[in-house]
Subunit: 340 residues, 2 copies
């Protein structure tokens, strides 16, 4: 990329950070620096040396755009320092997503909003991103009324520790039998956990609430969405069983054609063995995959479908890098920086 902005990856040693570095290299970002906690400072990530993500280091003003993939608490603490130094901060945590005036961006869906706000751009939840890629073109065609989602979320949604726990617990099933649950509230090896993030007063989990609120913010506040979010023993790839009720008639064939032409979407929908996307096969891919598109006859204008994407890529790192590209292509990173 000619004159690609300089990028600082904060949380570079985590599961999303690792994928972010791969994507930046592949997409021509040639001025990359890596930041993490004091524990990892000094470590080598290929040719790059990890710098400590101190407020001072981030506020120094020598990086155009910071990609944050750290926890919500760390983002709240560190993002303001990056912005103070004049950088644009693209934040993958939940810290700023629902804050008024801060754009919540999926480039294929509402990329234009990335340039409307101030110097923070928020990246949605890993299930919201692929879901809105699918819902947006269908909403434009027939008007979404209600959306019901049941998720099948891989352990990498909980970071490297989550992946390590599934790996270790499963191995223990074959060896010592000594299963230890630390990262997840229950055993995840050969099991399911219908609980992601904390419980809210109404019995929904915060993960479920985020999907609802973020979809409204990104697409349309009139959309009614309800979700059940479940952790499954898969390493990479989030899947969603989705039922949608529309204002206007739309057939499965029409939806299939619309989604075939939708940016970032790939339809795999043959009614035969393997004629659908599975998370293992989609891991490492960039698109959102849509399968099992069929009419839901329980309501007048209903569709059901199966949506899968790589939660570390489109669900996190890739979406953030695409936001950086949106900003860069309009030369807004430097403009924003000059205006600071």
């Amino acid at each position: 990329m000619p004159d690609a902005p300089s990028v600082g990856v904060v949380g570079a040693t985590g599961a999303v950070g690792t994928v972010t570095l791969e994507l930046l290299a592949a997409r021509g970002f040639d001025r990359v620096r890596v930041f993490a906690s004091a524990r990892s400072a000094g470590r080598q990530l290929g040719p790059l040396t990890v710098e400590e993500a101190t407020p001072e280091a981030l506020a120094r003003g020598d990086v155009d755009v910071f990609l944050f993939s750290v926890g919500t608490g760390a983002s709240r603490e560190l993002v303001p320092h990056a912005v103070e130094g004049g950088a644009v901060a693209i934040d993958k945590s939940a810290a700023y997503r629902l804050e008024p005036g801060i754009p919540l961006v999926v480039p294929e869906v509402n990329g234009g909003r990335a340039v409307e706000g101030g110097r923070i751009v928020a990246n949605p939840n890993c299930c919201t991103i692929p879901l809105t890629c699918v819902l947006k073109p269908l909403h434009d065609a027939a008007g979404l009324v209600r959306v019901r989602v049941a998720t099948y979320q891989s352990v990498s949604g909980a970071g490297k520790d989550g992946m390590d726990e599934l790996f270790a617990q499963t191995k223990a099933v074959y060896t010592t039998g000594d299963i230890e649950a630390k990262k997840f509230p229950r055993r995840i090896a050969f099991n399911l956990i219908p609980h992601i993030d904390v419980f809210m007063e109404d019995g929904y989990t915060k993960e479920e609430w985020k999907m609802m609120m973020e979809t409204k913010k990104i697409l349309d506040p009139a959309i009614r969405l309800t979700a059940t979010c479940v952790r499954v023993p898969v390493f990479i790839g989030h899947s969603e069983a989705v039922n949608i009720e529309f204002a206007d008639p739309i057939s499965a064939d029409e939806a299939r054609n619309i989604l075939r032409n939708a940016p970032g979407c790939i339809v795999i929908d043959k009614r035969e063995d393997g004629g659908y996307a599975t998370p293992y096969e989609v891991a490492g891919e960039d698109a959102t995959y849509i399968s099992r598109i069929r009419e839901d006859a329980t309501v007048e204008n209903g569709l059901a479908m199966w949506v899968v994407s790589d939660n570390l890529r489109k669900g996190a790192a890739l979406n953030a890098v695409q936001i950086a590209e949106c900003l860069d292509s309009r030369k807004l990173i430097s403009a924003k920086k000059k205006a600071a």
Copy 2:
């Protein structure tokens, strides 16, 4: 059990057959014979010697009730011979479930129907059984209108071969890396497969269609149900994310109280770590477990919940043994036999 009927288990060497034998012994059935294909004939199952399930052996008239846990094709072939010999046949396959005049029975829900029909009683699908245990008392209270289900079905739903395939594939991930898919159309280790049974013309799978048709037959033909059925890498225990729309208002608290008093149901619903059922924990248990009961605000009278049960027990073997007990307690097995 005094004067328990004599029972023949057909398909005794399979995953469901094995559990059936455990349950019969524990529940006092002391005259049990075991049948299987020619391949297994002569094998010992504890003190019992496997007999070959030939048409002649089943028609001999020396068994009161046969419990069939074989495939749909084998049931179609063998059940008529058992009935011809004067026995009652309780069939776990899909062969007779939707046939008019043949009762489709979940004892807690419609046990009375077991005694209305002829000498065949059908056992519903492994997801339909726990679901109807939950839906029946709620339907009585507030009138079901629409039900949407996303399932998370364990590999034992595909029998012992399914369990062996998950075991072998997962082991191969840690050792040879050589993953072979034979029983399932795609790799199941650390993966999901949104496809159970064959595809139908409308894009639904037969598993999804069965849940719809069987729920209508058991509960009420006016109920509209749609399902997405997904195989998950869990050995035992089927889970279901369920959204229900009612005719009348019903709160989450009301539903929780109704389900606490419903036969065969256990509510585990605390809004804290582990305050819900997971399939690994429910494996080996008899009840249907209900968790995550909450209001679905996308519709006027809506509820969402999480339902888990042991698919080999309540979803199959236990339900069939309970049907045998229904018949026996009314001395109907011998009455039916005499009438033959």
